[in-house]
């Protein structure tokens, strides 16, 4: 597949849905949003930026431990530009599909929350969703999708509310 130039659009970011996890024992605070798949957290008050996993592997695995602290922008030139790679911040168009496909991939013992996300920068469209260069949550659903067996649903909902405050976002209703 050949590389194509991106079509430039000035306007509103795309809106889509994704899952995040909350880690009750997280040293950064239990209200910190974590990636569903990789051990990275989403920063509050600044955008999440996609990093190229292959580039990080090539440049040293230590950079992977905290991509936010690594000299930026790591591998962005290899980020979402090539359709053959898998880089980018993932989100799905349909919230029900997001839950169906994603929830089982998140480690047990974590609170799982569904929410809306804004996507911008370089974006690749897929049949059911997107891969984007930049993202930030728009809102989180009040009721967690999954609560650890030994955790209280009320406490989990409180942590989701704390996460909304931390990231300065509203309530999402799918």
């Amino acid at each position: 597949m050949t590389e194509r130039e991106a079509r430039l659009i000035v306007g509103e970011p795309l809106r889509a849905w994704r899952l995040w996890s909350l880690v009750p024992g997280c040293p950064k605070g239990p209200q910190t949003l974590h990636s569903c798949y990789y051990e990275v957290h989403w920063p509050a008050g600044r955008p999440m930026r996609a990093h190229c996993v292959e580039a990080i592997k090539r440049r040293g695995f230590s950079a992977w431990l905290d991509p936010h602290s690594a000299p930026a922008p790591i591998g962005v030139e290899e980020g979402v530009r090539r359709p053959v790679c898998g880089c980018g911040i993932y989100a799905l168009k349909d919230p029900r599909v997001a839950v169906e496909r994603w929830v089982s991939m998140i480690k047990r013992g974590r609170i799982v929350v569904l929410g809306e996300v804004a996507l911008w920068g370089r974006v690749l469209k897929h049949e059911d969703g997107y891969r984007a260069e930049y993202a930030y949550p728009i809102g989180l659903c009040a009721k967690p999708v999954r609560v650890p067996e030994d955790d209280d649903e009320e406490i989990a909902s409180f942590l989701v509310e704390m996460a909304r405050r931390r990231y300065g976002v509203g309530l999402s209703v799918p």
Partner: protein
């Protein structure tokens, strides 16, 4: 990685938002991990 279907035939787009959609988060305890790190 979550399944998002095949890439569409639409060309890649680059969205330049008029306003970056990042609200001011609620003040919290300082988090060293959020401090900017010199490149």
């Amino acid at each position: 990685m979550v399944e998002i279907g095949k890439p569409t035939e639409e060309p890649e787009i680059e969205i330049l938002p008029v306003e970056i959609p990042v609200p001011e988060p609620a003040p919290t305890e300082p988090d060293p991990a959020e401090e900017p790190v010199p490149a």
